[in-house]
Amino acid sequence: MAIPSYATRGERIWHYVFLGLCALIFLFLVGPLLIIIPLSFNAQPYFTFSEAMLTLDPAGYSLRWYEDFFTSRAWLGAIKNSFIIGIASTILATILGTVAALGLSSRYMPARGAIMALLISPMIVPLIISAAAMFFFFSKINLAQTYLGVILAHTALGIPFVVITVTATLSSFDTTLIRAAHSLGANPTRTFFKVVLPLVTPGVVSGALFAFITSFDEVVVVLFVAGPEQRTMPIQMWSGIREQISPTILAVATLLVLLSMLLLTTLELLRRRSERLRGITPE
């Protein structure tokens, strides 16, 4: 956003004020996430910077909350549960969502708008409502307090993300590429693996990542549908914040921020790859 040469002095000043404001808003967005990283190394059981931390005294810092986390049976069990539920529901949501997206992007799909609205609805309906509804229904069919129940519930919540990302990828898919491949002598199988799949995969993978993070971060439905056996990470954090607030939560939070950075990088790489394959390059 360069300042045009015809800008007046007032406009120049406004331009810098605007940039300053934007910097403050970015600080509001990211600052809170960054502030917990140093806080999680606090040697004291407080949620704020101690005197020793501010003077950069090494004694003010420690890894005790990380040690707490990695040696706690409850936390490790919760991580395991989160991964079991997250991975299973991601696989289910990705398969169902991708197949459905193939149908939805067909020109001949009947009642496309209505069906799309229905498929997206788990994302729009407030989680507490889905959770209450699933609790009533799953208790009736003996799925409450089981892994299967939680996995099915999370699959339903993850599906909109897969459907949205894969349909978006498919809608920009250039079908002449398939004809081109055929005319160059590739058979349908070869065309699918060499042309279609590489172009569609990034969309499927990012849909899967969205579905995974949805499940991995979900509290409300687990709170209602799961039993003590299926305690996940978010539930452990939730009860940690409500009951005995300990800085172990900050250590977990830091690890989760790092995880989301990792996911974000993966997504960005996927996006670039897909753009490169399609021959779109950033300016």
């Binding site: 934007c22 967005l29 708008g113 609805s121 889905s130 699933m134 699959t155």
Partner: protein
Amino acid sequence: MSESPASPLTTADGVPLKVSLRRAVRRSKVKAFLLVSPLLLFLGVAFVMPIVEMLWRSVENAEVSTYLPRTVEALEGWDGGSLPEEPAFAALAEDLRTGQEARNLGLLSSRLNYEKSGMRSAISRTARGVRNLEPPFRESLVEAHRAWGELDTWRLIQREARPYTISYYLAAVDRRLSLDGEIVKVPDHLEVHVGLFWRTFWMSAVITGLTLVLGYPIAFLLASLPLRHSNLLMILVLLPFWTSLLVRTTTWIAILQSQGVLNDLMVTLGVIADEARWQMIHNKTGTIVAMTHILLPFMILPLYSVMKTIPPSYMRAARSLGGKPFLSFRRVYFPLTVPGIAAGGILVFILSIGYYITPALVGGQSGRFITNYIAYHMQTSLNWGLAAAIASILLFVVIVFYMVFNRLIGVDKVKLG
């Protein structure tokens, strides 16, 4: 092309072209639908059926007819003018005896207690001694508990024998059905839900407004920078978007609490005294700040995708036609961004009124939403019918906004990341 207009075009194997085309289209339709059907089936079972079941539960009224079948039968045709005759009392004694033996009177007594306080103890006390009751039951039941001698009790039983009820919906809006069949307000100290609905709506409106004020400049900056730079800054928007909701809520607790980072900073800087620390959490402020932060990316992303489509030459044209910067912005740029504002605004508002976790953790008493009451009735008061009714009302509001959103923008235009 065909020589005689009478003979229709045909394919190579002699089928008329129209028929063949129609068949091909139908085949494609069926194929597309078959691809979607497994997902439709899955969501039907795992998502739609639970919601329908919940809606049904909000009007279901099976307790009295299930647990007092004989009494209900005996009361058929009773005019409600004076206490029923002995057969009704005998039927009640028999029903209570069956219920006491099966130990399943709990649901019944809670259900009747919602309508008439004191019914829980009337039923449990009578049921405990039901074995020793001697006929005539009309006297012995009234002796066991005076509630059975009241006309209202019997009229209530007769009324609640109906399979459906609107009393949960009435309770959800702080009303109840009086024993004369009129809709009356509950006493003031029990009035909670309507206030909470309004609070949820106006706090969500405030949060939506704040995300717009904060999100608009950011989206504008991102849309006007060259892609290379805006992609980098976009990461700053997407990072919170991708970070766990609980993490973001936790960090606001760490920052805002009275012994937290912000208060410590203010005390150190001498802005406030140590004894006068700001109370920024476990109240409305906490909910609004944390939720504005959490929902901000949902405002920025739709705004950005709309602003990206506005050619920068429009603003230059407006300037060259003599518009002052503010005027050009107001008359040219801003109107073009209104679809983005609508999309982001509705999205943030829908998400906000349904939020549960953040208000529950940082909202305290005054920053709580109606969703917290759904959870309360689900888990603590165990009045599931009422929880279902509140949830259904909220669901209705969300669906209305969702339909507006769908009409305005279209769900298939939603972009992620």
